[in-house]
Subunit: 209 residues, 2 copies
Protein backbone atom coordinates (compact mmCIF):
# COMPACT_ATOMS: atom_id res chain seq x y z
CA UNK A 1 0.00 0.00 0.00
CA UNK A 2 1.69 3.24 -1.07
CA UNK A 3 1.80 6.15 1.36
CA UNK A 4 -0.85 8.21 -0.39
CA UNK A 5 -3.23 5.27 -0.02
CA UNK A 6 -2.27 4.76 3.63
CA UNK A 7 -2.87 8.46 4.31
CA UNK A 8 -6.31 8.30 2.69
CA UNK A 9 -7.20 4.94 4.24
CA UNK A 10 -6.29 5.97 7.80
CA UNK A 11 -9.53 7.00 9.42
CA UNK A 12 -10.57 7.48 13.03
CA UNK A 13 -12.84 4.51 13.62
CA UNK A 14 -15.62 4.69 16.22
CA UNK A 15 -16.70 1.06 16.30
CA UNK A 16 -14.27 -1.77 16.95
CA UNK A 17 -14.80 -5.50 16.62
CA UNK A 18 -14.88 -6.69 20.23
CA UNK A 19 -14.35 -10.29 19.18
CA UNK A 20 -11.09 -9.75 17.34
CA UNK A 21 -7.92 -9.47 19.37
CA UNK A 22 -4.76 -7.73 18.18
CA UNK A 23 -1.98 -10.29 18.57
CA UNK A 24 1.11 -9.39 20.54
CA UNK A 25 3.18 -10.04 17.42
CA UNK A 26 1.17 -7.57 15.35
CA UNK A 27 1.16 -4.89 18.05
CA UNK A 28 4.90 -5.26 18.38
CA UNK A 29 5.34 -4.98 14.60
CA UNK A 30 3.18 -1.84 14.52
CA UNK A 31 5.16 -0.21 17.34
CA UNK A 32 8.51 -1.19 15.88
CA UNK A 33 7.69 0.34 12.48
CA UNK A 34 6.68 3.54 14.28
CA UNK A 35 9.82 3.43 16.43
CA UNK A 36 11.76 4.66 13.39
CA UNK A 37 10.12 8.07 13.89
CA UNK A 38 12.62 10.95 13.96
CA UNK A 39 12.93 13.13 17.04
CA UNK A 40 14.82 16.13 18.34
CA UNK A 41 18.45 14.96 18.77
CA UNK A 42 17.07 11.39 18.54
CA UNK A 43 15.82 11.77 22.12
CA UNK A 44 12.55 9.86 21.48
CA UNK A 45 10.73 11.47 24.44
CA UNK A 46 7.76 9.13 24.29
CA UNK A 47 6.45 6.01 25.98
CA UNK A 48 3.37 3.85 25.82
CA UNK A 49 1.16 2.15 28.37
CA UNK A 50 -0.58 -0.82 26.77
CA UNK A 51 -4.08 -1.51 28.14
CA UNK A 52 -5.71 -4.79 27.17
CA UNK A 53 -7.60 -6.12 30.16
CA UNK A 54 -11.21 -5.20 30.77
CA UNK A 55 -10.61 -3.78 34.22
CA UNK A 56 -7.92 -1.31 33.14
CA UNK A 57 -9.90 -0.23 30.07
CA UNK A 58 -12.99 0.17 32.25
CA UNK A 59 -11.15 2.46 34.63
CA UNK A 60 -9.89 4.48 31.69
CA UNK A 61 -13.33 4.69 30.08
CA UNK A 62 -14.76 6.31 33.22
CA UNK A 63 -12.20 9.09 32.82
CA UNK A 64 -12.68 9.33 29.05
CA UNK A 65 -16.21 10.66 28.72
CA UNK A 66 -17.53 7.09 28.99
CA UNK A 67 -16.67 6.52 25.33
CA UNK A 68 -17.62 2.92 24.40
CA UNK A 69 -14.61 2.52 22.10
CA UNK A 70 -12.27 2.67 25.11
CA UNK A 71 -13.53 -0.73 26.26
CA UNK A 72 -14.57 -2.08 22.84
CA UNK A 73 -11.15 -1.69 21.20
CA UNK A 74 -8.96 -4.68 22.11
CA UNK A 75 -5.97 -2.43 22.78
CA UNK A 76 -5.86 1.12 24.10
CA UNK A 77 -2.53 2.90 24.30
CA UNK A 78 -1.95 5.70 26.77
CA UNK A 79 0.58 7.76 24.84
CA UNK A 80 3.05 9.59 27.06
CA UNK A 81 5.16 12.64 26.24
CA UNK A 82 8.23 13.01 28.43
CA UNK A 83 8.90 16.68 29.28
CA UNK A 84 12.17 15.71 30.96
CA UNK A 85 13.41 13.67 28.01
CA UNK A 86 16.26 16.09 27.23
CA UNK A 87 17.90 16.19 30.67
CA UNK A 88 21.33 14.91 31.59
CA UNK A 89 21.02 11.64 33.50
CA UNK A 90 17.70 10.65 31.91
CA UNK A 91 17.95 6.96 30.91
CA UNK A 92 17.10 7.57 27.23
CA UNK A 93 19.36 10.64 26.98
CA UNK A 94 22.27 8.62 28.34
CA UNK A 95 21.53 5.57 26.19
CA UNK A 96 21.24 7.77 23.11
CA UNK A 97 24.57 9.35 23.99
CA UNK A 98 26.30 5.97 24.38
CA UNK A 99 24.84 4.77 21.08
CA UNK A 100 26.01 7.92 19.26
CA UNK A 101 29.52 7.47 20.65
CA UNK A 102 29.52 3.81 19.64
CA UNK A 103 28.30 4.69 16.13
CA UNK A 104 30.92 7.44 15.78
CA UNK A 105 28.31 10.14 15.12
CA UNK A 106 29.51 12.02 18.24
CA UNK A 107 32.82 12.14 20.07
CA UNK A 108 33.25 12.15 23.84
CA UNK A 109 34.45 15.80 23.65
CA UNK A 110 31.09 16.88 22.27
CA UNK A 111 29.17 15.86 25.40
CA UNK A 112 29.01 19.33 26.91
CA UNK A 113 27.97 20.83 23.59
CA UNK A 114 25.26 18.19 23.15
CA UNK A 115 23.79 18.56 26.64
CA UNK A 116 23.91 22.35 26.48
CA UNK A 117 22.26 22.41 23.07
CA UNK A 118 19.35 20.30 24.31
CA UNK A 119 19.09 22.38 27.47
CA UNK A 120 19.12 25.66 25.57
CA UNK A 121 16.37 24.47 23.19
CA UNK A 122 14.10 22.53 25.54
CA UNK A 123 14.94 23.87 28.96
CA UNK A 124 14.67 27.63 28.44
CA UNK A 125 11.07 27.60 29.67
CA UNK A 126 8.41 25.15 30.85
CA UNK A 127 6.63 25.86 27.57
CA UNK A 128 9.69 24.75 25.62
CA UNK A 129 9.89 21.44 27.54
CA UNK A 130 6.20 20.75 27.02
CA UNK A 131 6.26 21.68 23.33
CA UNK A 132 9.34 19.47 22.83
CA UNK A 133 7.55 16.51 24.41
CA UNK A 134 4.18 17.07 22.70
CA UNK A 135 5.60 17.76 19.24
CA UNK A 136 7.90 14.74 19.19
CA UNK A 137 5.25 12.46 20.65
CA UNK A 138 2.91 13.79 17.96
CA UNK A 139 5.43 12.54 15.38
CA UNK A 140 5.46 9.13 17.05
CA UNK A 141 1.68 8.85 17.44
CA UNK A 142 1.14 9.77 13.80
CA UNK A 143 3.57 7.02 12.81
CA UNK A 144 1.71 4.56 15.02
CA UNK A 145 -1.54 5.37 13.17
CA UNK A 146 0.03 4.93 9.73
CA UNK A 147 1.81 1.74 10.77
CA UNK A 148 -1.49 0.37 12.09
CA UNK A 149 -3.30 1.25 8.85
CA UNK A 150 -0.59 -0.38 6.76
CA UNK A 151 -1.00 -3.58 8.80
CA UNK A 152 -4.79 -3.70 8.36
CA UNK A 153 -5.57 -2.32 11.80
CA UNK A 154 -7.86 0.60 12.65
CA UNK A 155 -7.21 3.31 15.22
CA UNK A 156 -8.85 6.25 16.93
CA UNK A 157 -6.78 9.02 18.53
CA UNK A 158 -8.69 10.36 21.54
CA UNK A 159 -8.45 13.67 23.35
CA UNK A 160 -11.73 13.38 25.24
CA UNK A 161 -10.43 12.45 28.68
CA UNK A 162 -9.69 14.02 32.03
CA UNK A 163 -5.96 14.65 31.74
CA UNK A 164 -5.24 14.98 35.43
CA UNK A 165 -7.65 12.19 36.32
CA UNK A 166 -5.91 9.74 34.00
CA UNK A 167 -2.52 10.73 35.36
CA UNK A 168 -3.71 10.04 38.90
CA UNK A 169 -5.61 6.80 38.19
CA UNK A 170 -2.69 5.23 36.33
CA UNK A 171 0.08 6.62 38.56
CA UNK A 172 1.70 8.47 35.68
CA UNK A 173 4.70 10.45 36.93
CA UNK A 174 4.81 14.25 36.74
CA UNK A 175 7.39 14.34 33.94
CA UNK A 176 4.76 13.08 31.48
CA UNK A 177 2.08 14.95 29.59
CA UNK A 178 -0.63 12.70 28.12
CA UNK A 179 -1.23 14.03 24.61
CA UNK A 180 -3.66 11.31 23.54
CA UNK A 181 -5.13 7.87 24.00
CA UNK A 182 -5.01 5.62 20.96
CA UNK A 183 -7.58 2.89 20.45
CA UNK A 184 -6.28 0.05 18.25
CA UNK A 185 -8.21 -2.86 16.78
CA UNK A 186 -10.32 -3.93 13.85
CA UNK A 187 -13.30 -2.14 12.38
CA UNK A 188 -16.56 -3.71 13.54
CA UNK A 189 -18.07 -5.80 10.72
CA UNK A 190 -21.04 -4.17 9.03
CA UNK A 191 -20.07 -0.67 10.13
CA UNK A 192 -19.32 1.88 7.48
CA UNK A 193 -16.75 4.56 8.22
CA UNK A 194 -18.06 8.11 7.76
CA UNK A 195 -16.97 10.01 4.65
CA UNK A 196 -13.68 11.89 5.12
CA UNK A 197 -14.05 15.25 6.86
CA UNK A 198 -13.18 18.57 5.33
CA UNK A 199 -9.51 19.49 5.28
CA UNK A 200 -7.72 22.79 4.70
CA UNK A 201 -6.48 23.25 1.15
CA UNK A 202 -2.89 24.20 0.31
CA UNK A 203 -3.94 27.81 0.00
CA UNK A 204 -5.60 27.74 3.41
CA UNK A 205 -2.55 26.11 4.99
CA UNK A 206 0.09 28.46 3.67
CA UNK A 207 0.29 31.85 5.38
CA UNK A 208 2.55 34.88 5.25
CA UNK A 209 2.80 37.88 7.57
Amino acid sequence: MDFKTVAAKRRAVNFFDEQKEVSDTLLREMVEIAAKTPSSFNLQPWNLMVLKDADAKGRLRKLAWDQPKVTEAPVVLIVLADKSGWKEGHATVEKNWKEMIAAGSMTAEQREWFLNAAKSLYGWSDDASLAFAAKNTGFFAMSLMYAATSLGLSTHPMDGFDHEGVRKEFNIPDNYWVPLLLAVGYLKPGVEVNPPKWRKSYDELVVSF
Copy 2:
Protein backbone atom coordinates in the same frame (compact mmCIF):
# COMPACT_ATOMS: atom_id res chain seq x y z
CA MET B 1 6.40 2.14 -1.78
CA ASP B 2 4.69 0.49 1.21
CA PHE B 3 4.58 2.31 4.52
CA LYS B 4 7.23 0.18 6.21
CA THR B 5 9.61 1.10 3.39
CA VAL B 6 8.65 4.79 3.59
CA ALA B 7 9.26 4.74 7.37
CA ALA B 8 12.70 3.18 6.87
CA LYS B 9 13.60 5.35 3.88
CA ARG B 10 12.69 8.63 5.58
CA ARG B 11 15.95 10.02 6.90
CA ALA B 12 16.99 13.47 8.05
CA VAL B 13 19.24 14.61 5.25
CA ASN B 14 22.01 17.13 5.93
CA PHE B 15 23.09 17.91 2.38
CA PHE B 16 20.68 19.10 -0.27
CA ASP B 17 21.18 19.49 -3.99
CA GLU B 18 21.28 23.27 -4.46
CA GLN B 19 20.73 22.92 -8.20
CA LYS B 20 17.47 21.03 -8.01
CA GLU B 21 14.30 22.97 -7.33
CA VAL B 22 11.14 21.49 -5.87
CA SER B 23 8.36 22.35 -8.30
CA ASP B 24 5.27 24.12 -7.02
CA THR B 25 3.20 21.18 -8.25
CA LEU B 26 5.22 18.68 -6.24
CA LEU B 27 5.23 20.81 -3.09
CA ARG B 28 1.49 21.21 -3.37
CA GLU B 29 1.06 17.45 -3.82
CA MET B 30 3.20 16.75 -0.77
CA VAL B 31 1.24 19.21 1.38
CA GLU B 32 -2.11 17.96 0.14
CA ILE B 33 -1.30 14.34 0.99
CA ALA B 34 -0.28 15.47 4.48
CA ALA B 35 -3.41 17.61 4.78
CA LYS B 36 -5.36 14.38 5.41
CA THR B 37 -3.71 14.23 8.84
CA PRO B 38 -6.19 13.73 11.69
CA SER B 39 -6.51 16.33 14.42
CA SER B 40 -8.40 17.03 17.61
CA PHE B 41 -12.03 17.69 16.55
CA ASN B 42 -10.66 18.17 13.02
CA LEU B 43 -9.39 21.60 14.08
CA GLN B 44 -6.14 21.33 12.08
CA PRO B 45 -4.31 23.91 14.21
CA TRP B 46 -1.34 24.22 11.89
CA ASN B 47 -0.03 26.49 9.15
CA LEU B 48 3.05 26.74 7.00
CA MET B 49 5.24 29.56 5.84
CA VAL B 50 6.99 28.57 2.60
CA LEU B 51 10.48 30.04 2.17
CA LYS B 52 12.12 29.73 -1.22
CA ASP B 53 13.98 32.92 -1.96
CA ALA B 54 17.61 33.32 -0.95
CA ASP B 55 17.02 36.45 1.11
CA ALA B 56 14.34 34.91 3.33
CA LYS B 57 16.31 31.69 3.79
CA GLY B 58 19.41 33.74 4.60
CA ARG B 59 17.57 35.66 7.32
CA LEU B 60 16.31 32.36 8.74
CA ARG B 61 19.75 30.74 8.61
CA LYS B 62 21.18 33.51 10.80
CA LEU B 63 18.63 32.58 13.46
CA ALA B 64 19.10 28.83 12.97
CA TRP B 65 22.63 28.25 14.21
CA ASP B 66 23.94 29.19 10.75
CA GLN B 67 23.08 25.71 9.49
CA PRO B 68 24.02 25.52 5.77
CA LYS B 69 21.01 23.34 4.94
CA VAL B 70 18.69 26.26 5.66
CA THR B 71 19.94 28.04 2.56
CA GLU B 72 20.95 24.95 0.57
CA ALA B 73 17.55 23.26 0.64
CA PRO B 74 15.36 24.73 -2.12
CA VAL B 75 12.36 24.96 0.23
CA VAL B 76 12.28 25.57 3.96
CA LEU B 77 8.96 25.43 5.77
CA ILE B 78 8.36 27.31 8.98
CA VAL B 79 5.84 25.02 10.64
CA LEU B 80 3.37 26.86 12.86
CA ALA B 81 1.27 25.46 15.72
CA ASP B 82 -1.79 27.54 16.51
CA LYS B 83 -2.45 27.67 20.26
CA SER B 84 -5.72 29.51 19.65
CA GLY B 85 -6.96 27.01 17.08
CA TRP B 86 -9.83 25.76 19.29
CA LYS B 87 -11.46 29.13 20.06
CA GLU B 88 -14.89 30.29 18.98
CA GLY B 89 -14.59 32.78 16.14
CA HIS B 90 -11.27 31.41 14.88
CA ALA B 91 -11.52 31.14 11.07
CA THR B 92 -10.69 27.41 10.95
CA VAL B 93 -12.93 26.57 13.90
CA GLU B 94 -15.84 28.32 12.19
CA LYS B 95 -15.11 26.79 8.78
CA ASN B 96 -14.81 23.34 10.36
CA TRP B 97 -18.15 23.91 12.08
CA LYS B 98 -19.87 24.92 8.83
CA GLU B 99 -18.42 21.93 7.01
CA MET B 100 -19.59 19.55 9.74
CA ILE B 101 -23.10 20.99 9.59
CA ALA B 102 -23.10 20.71 5.79
CA ALA B 103 -21.91 17.08 5.98
CA GLY B 104 -24.50 16.22 8.62
CA SER B 105 -21.90 15.04 11.12
CA MET B 106 -23.07 17.74 13.58
CA THR B 107 -26.38 19.51 14.06
CA ALA B 108 -26.82 23.22 14.80
CA GLU B 109 -28.02 22.33 18.34
CA GLN B 110 -24.65 20.76 19.13
CA ARG B 111 -22.73 24.02 18.72
CA GLU B 112 -22.55 24.86 22.42
CA TRP B 113 -21.53 21.29 23.25
CA PHE B 114 -18.82 21.37 20.59
CA LEU B 115 -17.36 24.71 21.61
CA ASN B 116 -17.48 23.84 25.31
CA ALA B 117 -15.83 20.46 24.70
CA ALA B 118 -12.93 22.10 22.88
CA LYS B 119 -12.65 24.80 25.53
CA SER B 120 -12.68 22.30 28.39
CA LEU B 121 -9.94 20.20 26.76
CA TYR B 122 -7.66 22.87 25.30
CA GLY B 123 -8.49 25.97 27.28
CA TRP B 124 -8.22 24.73 30.87
CA SER B 125 -4.61 25.95 31.06
CA ASP B 126 -1.96 27.58 28.89
CA ASP B 127 -0.19 24.21 28.94
CA ALA B 128 -3.24 22.50 27.47
CA SER B 129 -3.45 25.04 24.61
CA LEU B 130 0.24 24.66 23.83
CA ALA B 131 0.18 20.86 24.02
CA PHE B 132 -2.91 20.79 21.76
CA ALA B 133 -1.11 22.91 19.16
CA ALA B 134 2.25 21.12 19.38
CA LYS B 135 0.81 17.59 19.39
CA ASN B 136 -1.47 18.13 16.41
CA THR B 137 1.18 20.00 14.46
CA GLY B 138 3.51 17.10 15.25
CA PHE B 139 0.98 14.82 13.51
CA PHE B 140 0.96 17.12 10.50
CA ALA B 141 4.73 17.54 10.29
CA MET B 142 5.27 13.79 10.48
CA SER B 143 2.83 13.37 7.60
CA LEU B 144 4.70 16.00 5.61
CA MET B 145 7.93 14.03 6.03
CA TYR B 146 6.36 10.74 4.95
CA ALA B 147 4.57 12.38 2.02
CA ALA B 148 7.87 13.93 0.92
CA THR B 149 9.69 10.59 1.15
CA SER B 150 6.97 8.84 -0.85
CA LEU B 151 7.38 11.47 -3.60
CA GLY B 152 11.16 11.05 -3.80
CA LEU B 153 11.96 14.17 -1.79
CA SER B 154 14.25 14.44 1.23
CA THR B 155 13.60 16.43 4.40
CA HIS B 156 15.25 17.54 7.60
CA PRO B 157 13.20 18.57 10.65
CA MET B 158 15.11 21.26 12.53
CA ASP B 159 14.89 22.41 16.13
CA GLY B 160 18.16 24.30 16.20
CA PHE B 161 16.86 27.85 15.96
CA ASP B 162 16.13 30.85 18.14
CA HIS B 163 12.41 30.44 18.71
CA GLU B 164 11.68 34.01 19.76
CA GLY B 165 14.10 35.43 17.20
CA VAL B 166 12.36 33.62 14.34
CA ARG B 167 8.97 34.76 15.59
CA LYS B 168 10.16 38.38 15.60
CA GLU B 169 12.04 38.29 12.28
CA PHE B 170 9.11 36.77 10.39
CA ASN B 171 6.35 38.72 12.18
CA ILE B 172 4.75 35.52 13.44
CA PRO B 173 1.74 36.37 15.63
CA ASP B 174 1.64 35.44 19.33
CA ASN B 175 -0.93 32.70 18.88
CA TYR B 176 1.68 30.51 17.16
CA TRP B 177 4.37 28.29 18.62
CA VAL B 178 7.06 27.29 16.12
CA PRO B 179 7.66 23.57 16.75
CA LEU B 180 10.08 23.06 13.87
CA LEU B 181 11.54 24.17 10.59
CA LEU B 182 11.42 21.63 7.79
CA ALA B 183 13.98 21.65 5.00
CA VAL B 184 12.68 20.04 1.80
CA GLY B 185 14.60 19.16 -1.36
CA TYR B 186 16.70 16.47 -2.97
CA LEU B 187 19.68 14.68 -1.50
CA LYS B 188 22.94 16.12 -2.83
CA PRO B 189 24.45 13.76 -5.43
CA GLY B 190 27.42 11.78 -4.16
CA VAL B 191 26.45 12.18 -0.51
CA GLU B 192 25.71 9.09 1.49
CA VAL B 193 23.15 9.32 4.28
CA ASN B 194 24.46 8.17 7.67
CA PRO B 195 23.36 4.76 8.93
CA PRO B 196 20.08 4.86 10.87
CA LYS B 197 20.45 5.90 14.50
CA TRP B 198 19.58 3.75 17.47
CA ARG B 199 15.89 3.54 18.37
CA LYS B 200 14.13 2.34 21.49
CA SER B 201 12.88 -1.24 21.26
CA TYR B 202 9.28 -2.22 22.03
CA ASP B 203 10.34 -3.25 25.52
CA GLU B 204 12.01 0.11 26.11
CA LEU B 205 8.97 1.97 24.82
CA VAL B 206 6.32 0.24 26.87
CA VAL B 207 6.13 1.26 30.52
CA SER B 208 3.86 0.56 33.47
CA PHE B 209 3.62 2.24 36.85
